[in-house]
């Protein structure tokens, strides 16, 4: 039994290999990039606009609104990163309706890679927002004794982020595979529908958690009343 699409290797030469995770990721990237390009090719600046442009605008504005609600005051700065996280994870889950497709987020490598990105992005945005000193000082808050705990917390939450997404996606794919062998017709469809829902929820949770971490890193020195998450 295959737990991860990493195990499906199409081509390998020494350290380099081309597995299903990478291939499906490329597919998703291609679809997202080409779709966006097609839709934004003829953007309308007027009051009337195309249906697809409306969809994208709603999507982008909804993500921006969510980021704002988390507490980030300049959502446009984080929109690219957090929005792409949401879109990628969400698209990876939605695409499970395609037969033969395996979500790349079902691979711990992918989720670890995304968690690593968040892990790097949090100090990146934090330093960018409040400077190196300010950011580093935040690890010694409220007292210096908290420094090791803060570091452990930073590492563990990154790990939790990766494991959570992997576990959910992998379990969804696994349950589907197992059910297909036991009751081949009706039940897997229901589970697929449920998988779509949980996939979207996971995408939301993943990006919201990333936003919260970044918000925590960028606003740690600000007054508490402004933390309206």
């Amino acid at each position: 039994m295959r737990l991860s699409p990493d195990e499906m290797i199409f081509w390998q030469q020494g350290f380099l290999k081309l597995n299903a995770t990478i291939v499906f990721t490329w597919g998703l990237m291609l679809a997202l990039a080409v779709g966006s390009k097609l839709i934004t090719r003829n953007l309308s600046m007027d009051l009337t606009r195309s249906r697809w442009q409306n969809v994208l605008e709603i999507l982008v504005l909804a993500i921006e609104k969510q980021i704002k609600e988390v507490g980030l005051r300049r959502p446009d700065r984080y929109l690219t990163f957090l929005g792409t996280l949401f879109l990628f994870v969400g698209m990876a889950s939605l695409s499970t309706v395609i037969p033969g497709y395996e979500p790349p987020t079902g691979s711990l490598s992918t989720t670890a890679a995304l968690a690593l990105c968040v892990f790097v992005a949090v100090p990146f945005f934090g330093i960018k927002e409040q400077g190196m000193g300010g950011y580093l000082r935040s690890y010694a808050e409220p007292t210096a004794i908290m420094l090791p705990f803060n570091i452990i917390s930073e590492l563990s939450r990154t790990l939790a982020l990766a494991i959570r997404l992997f576990g959910n996606m992998m379990s969804g794919a696994m349950i589907l595979a197992i059910l297909l062998t036991i009751t081949p017709f009706f039940f897997p469809i229901v589970m697929t529908a449920l998988g779509l829902l949980t996939g979207m929820v996971q995408a939301y949770i993943f990006s919201i958690l990333a936003a919260v971490y970044i918000a925590a890193a960028t606003r740690v020195r600000e007054s508490t009343p402004e933390l309206e998450t």
Partner: protein
């Protein structure tokens, strides 16, 4: 091993590439379009505000003009109505005065006509009455009556009072032409002689006489000499009666003419009140 580190690295790169792609193809153009649209909407709203303010200003201006126009129109209308009323009253007064004048003239003309008619009627009636009297007396007059008339004439001659008698005597004496005795019928010779005799006796002189016939006397005799006249005839009575009747009518007419306007200034019931 669930984690393949090569795949992790590849996925990190893939994700970073995807971030760049999304930024390039999705977020940037979409946000740009939204910003552009919002800017355009803001500009349009600002324009609309400007236009609205302008429209408001123009509306106020128009309303103000309209109100002033209404006021001016009302004032002019009132003025025109006042002038029209004044003109109407003036014309009405003029017309009333003209009508009053015309009516007064008409009433005056009517009164004059009425007076004339009455006078004419009175005159005609008198004429008729006297004509009838004359005719009746003329029919009744005969030679026998003339004899009686002659006797009366003689008696009156003899009964004349002193002053008249003296004047007449003087006139008869100084007259160059004979005295004329006129009668309606030819007097018989005895009567002529009786008259001659009576004259001679009365005036104690030989009075020359000339006898003439004059039918207008109706019945009677008159003696005419050098401007003096001694007469007794029915015509004289009738003439004096006619004269007195004429004087009476004239007095009555004058009284009517002065009394009528005072009694009936509007003259509307004149026909009833002035009819005899």
């Amino acid at each position: 091993m669930l984690i393949d580190w090569f795949t992790v690295g590849a996925q990190v790169l893939n994700f970073l590439l995807l971030v760049w792609l999304m930024k390039r193809f999705l977020y940037k153009p979409i946000l740009q379009a939204i910003d552009e649209r919002e800017k355009r909407i803001a500009a349009q709203v600002a324009d609309a505000h400007t236009i609205k303010a302008e429209a408001q200003r123009e509306r106020d201006e128009f309303r103000r003009k309209n109100e002033s126009f209404d006021q001016e129109r009302a004032a002019r209308l009132n003025k025109a109505m006042d002038e029209t009323n004044a003109e109407r009253h003036r014309l009405l007064d003029g017309a009333r005065q003209e009508a009053d004048g015309a009516r007064a003239n008409w009433q005056e003309a009517l009164r004059g006509e009425h007076r004339n008619l009455k006078q004419d009627l009175t005159r005609r009636v008198g004429e008729e009455v006297f004509s009838i009297a004359r005719k009746t007396l003329a029919d009744l007059a005969t030679t026998a009556l003339e004899e009686r008339v002659g006797e009366v004439f003689i008696r009156r001659l003899r009964a004349m009072d002193g002053r008249t008698k003296d004047e007449l005597a003087a006139t008869l004496r100084t007259a160059s032409t004979p005295a004329v005795v006129r009668s309606a019928f030819a007097l018989p010779a005895e009567q002529r002689a009786a008259i001659q005799h009576a004259l001679n006796e009365t005036f104690s002189a030989d009075v020359r006489l000339q006898f003439e016939i004059k039918s207008e006397l109706v019945s009677g005799i008159e003696l005419i000499t050098n401007g003096h006249k001694l007469a007794w005839s029915i015509a004289d009575y009738l003439a004096s009666l006619e004269q007195r009747v004429g004087e009476l009518l004239k007095e009555k007419d004058q009284t009517d003419a002065t009394v009528e306007p005072a009694l009936h200034p509007n003259g509307e019931s004149q026909a009833h009140t002035t009819s005899p």
